[in-house]
């Protein structure tokens, strides 16, 4: 087991082609290269920012086409950082199976940066978010306005000197998201924020020409609570319940992803039994998430039966999860380094009941929908997204695979022992709503396969690491042993103290790559915790997708994107 006290960030003379090519292109504009915990981070100067992003994306040897994340970090007056802000970009190369983090320092006196919207379409909303939360201005951005906070919000809440208890009175809603052409007789339609076809509180304003959408603009942030700021004032342990509220349709997977990211930061792995149980419950959560996505999507189209059919299996799965951890939705089951407690004795029997139920309702749902021409005609060739655009927008998960890109974190970067299990990655051919639906259905079958394999070889042993600096000692020892009790007090009081450094931990959530970018300064609270929410990038493309289509098609598209407000707004 790797020690918690391992020295971080030893400067490495990297042999990676990424570094070589960036050095060739940019020369001394590459300020720094770090390799730590398997993450490659390249710091470039502000002048070379756009050129660096362009090289990463378009250089044939690099091919970092998949946009993942862009976020700010505020160093305020920390030692070792001459410039106050930092912007970090995460991109991924599907062909070379490699992540890279590109960073750029930005001084407080001139907090501006050139936009990379021209390189990655997905950067649009991420740059707006960074401006909103950090006040970093992106030169040349097409629409640099507030995204997550309210339009009359004052200040930039993620800055370290922003006082958390500050309150603002925000009354006026933004009436027009679109510019209405002078003298136009076209009609403006607001869909949402409270509308049965919107899956949560978000709003789309569409300029209609008859039934056709001419122009559209989306507004989000109705459920924004700044999870990331809250996480900066919680210990690593205390963040776990907050992760449940990200994608609440598959709450367990968020905790799983977060715990893996922190374990990567600490260098402390969870024991095999905990990993196997995490895999089983994650796959069950994925099944539930796909069920709710498909069910709610067809409800929008007027077919209510499949929604109720799949609920039978969701009940069985919720019962299983509740028996393990004591709550159906807000699970809080993972701990850093393992799980809160072992599964109950009848876990396997319950899991098998749930599998039988999943099989039953999936077969019913497929008969009701898949080959049905009424349903298929609403979905086929609607909302087509090409593979190239999907990558540029930062699409991941079933939506990206529906567009024909076979990127699945579980296959390409196995975690929690996914390499032991045999399963297929379904991909679509056209990239329309129908492909996204079919991919989800096939993934349900594959998840069942994974669960059955994991149940068959569920290892015995402890469910949490025995590292004293990470996990609370067992209760029996706390009650009787003075050393254990002292350790217990100390760990509750001081929390986990990871080494200083930064990691990007990523897992395959139900919606795709769920990333946690953690910057640690060695203290008990995460210095910066950025969630890379899959549906944020997916929904960013929505208003572009529906332009030129029918309003009824927009309703069919949004359900299939599986936008979850808790994750979108954070």
């Amino acid at each position: 087991m790797a020690s918690v006290l391992e020295t971080p960030q030893a400067p490495a003379a990297s042999t990676s082609p990424t570094v070589r090519i960036l050095r060739e292109k940019l020369g001394d504009q590459v300020l720094r290269v770090d390799e730590w915990r398997g993450d490659l981070a390249v710091t470039v100067s502000r002048k070379a920012w756009v050129e660096a992003a362009r090289t990463l994306s378009f250089h044939p040897e690099l091919d970092y086409k998949l946009f993942l994340d862009l976020c700010g970090v505020d160093w305020l007056d920390r030692d070792g950082h001459d410039d106050r802000f930092e912007v970090a970009l995460h991109v991924y190369s599907v062909s070379h199976k490699h992540h890279v983090r590109l960073k750029v320092p930005i001084p407080e006196s001139d907090a501006t940066l050139d936009t990379i919207v021209g390189v990655y379409k997905g950067a649009n909303w991420f740059e707006r978010e960074t401006w909103d939360l950090y006040g970093i201005v992106f030169n040349g951005h097409p629409n640099l306005s507030r995204l997550l906070t309210h339009d009359s919000f004052v200040g930039h809440p993620m800055r370290k000197d922003y006082e958390t208890p500050k309150r603002h009175l925000l009354k006026e809603a933004k009436q027009w998201l679109l510019k209405v052409p002078e003298g136009s007789e076209h009609m403006i339609v607001n869909i949402g924020p409270s509308h049965p076809a919107m899956h949560g509180a978000f709003r789309v304003q569409a300029l209609m020409d008859g039934e056709t959408i001419q122009d559209a603009e989306a507004e989000i942030g109705y459920m924004h609570r700044n999870f990331e700021k809250m996480a900066e004032e919680r210990t690593y342990w205390q963040v776990i319940p907050y992760t449940d509220r990200l994608n609440y349709c598959s709450a367990f997977m968020n905790g799983h992803g977060y715990a893996l990211a922190v374990e990567k930061l600490l260098g402390v792995p969870a024991p095999p039994r905990a990993e196997a149980i995490r895999v089983i419950l994650s796959e069950f959560s994925r099944i539930m998430d796909h069920f709710i996505c498909i069910g709610a999507n067809v409800v929008d189209l007027g077919a209510i039966t499949p929604f109720f059919v799949v609920f039978r299996a969701r009940e069985a799965i919720y019962d299983l999860i509740e028996a393990c951890c004591g709550a159906r939705l807000t699970v809080s089951y993972v701990r850093i380094g393992g799980l809160a407690q072992d599964v109950p004795d009848d876990f396997e029997a319950r899991a098998r009941t749930a599998i039988a139920s999943v099989r039953d309702v999936t077969s019913q749902m497929e008969k009701l929908l898949t080959r049905n021409p009424i349903f298929a005609n609403r979905f086929k060739d609607v909302g087509v997204m090409s593979a190239e655009d999907a990558l540029s927008w930062g699409w991941v998960g079933p939506c990206l695979r529906g567009s024909g890109v076979a990127y699945d974190v579980r296959k390409d970067h196995p975690y929690s022992g996914y390499e032991q299990y045999d399963f297929d990655v379904p991909v679509g051919t056209v990239g329309d709503c129908y492909d996204r639906y079919l991919v989800r259905v096939e993934e349900i079958h594959q998840s069942v396969r994974i669960i059955e394999q994991a149940l068959a070889k569920l290892p015995k042993g402890p469910v949490i690491t025995d590292d004293k600096k990470v996990a609370l000692p067992p209760k029996s020892e706390v009650y009787s042993n003075i050393e254990a009790l002292m350790n217990h007090f100390k760990l509750v009081y001081e929390g986990i103290l990871p080494p200083a450094g930064e990691v990007y931990g990523y897992t395959e959530g139900a919606n795709g790559e769920l990333g946690f970018y953690i910057v640690s300064d060695g203290g008990k609270f995460p210095y910066r915790l950025k969630v890379r929410p899959p549906c944020f990038a997916i929904y960013a493309a929505f208003s572009e997708m529906i332009k030129g289509g029918l309003l009824a098609d927009a309703v069919a598209i949004i359900g299939g994107l599986n936008v979850i407000a808790g994750e979108l707004d954070r």
Binding site: E322, A323, G326, P373, A376, F423, T429, F489
Partner: protein
Amino acid sequence: MATVNVVRVERNTHPGIYPILLGLKITFMNMIRTLFMGQSATIQFPEQKRVSSGRYRGIHLLTAREDGTPKCVACYMCATACPAECIYIEAGERPEKSIEKYPTRFEIDLLRCVYCGFCVDACPEEAIMMSRENDLVGTTRAELIIDRDRLMERGKLAEYGPGYRPTDHDVRRPVRIAALERLKKEHGIVPGMPHR
């Protein structure tokens, strides 16, 4: 690394009326299963209640000693571990050498609580546990900040059953006093209400 098996999804649909008849058949089968075969997926709430497991995380309880006083020793561990900042404790002194402190005030704001069970994990005395009580109703906010007396009420526990709690029952108290003393001496930590 496992081989990547990629399968392309099949996009054909059946033309004609067959899929619609099949759909109708499934709907009717479900109706028959629900009405006549007793396979209903729903329950008759509120007459019938859902059976939850013994790990259910409902409203908290403070456990009692044999003389009816709370087991809690006001060590502030639950308040420190709480991610929702919903526990408030004030400590008083007890004459017994092996106990020293007890809570004169112990309040949980159930509107802030996220029912994560971290307080139970953090407690070194199994003094706090959770019941399966989950139907929480109040007409004012103040009503839902529950105090020590409500937390000590045993009637609710009998009605709903115990929920999330530590499973071991061997608490030897002198260990705690010694551990707290060493904690202060060696690490300079004196537990208290966390500053928010």
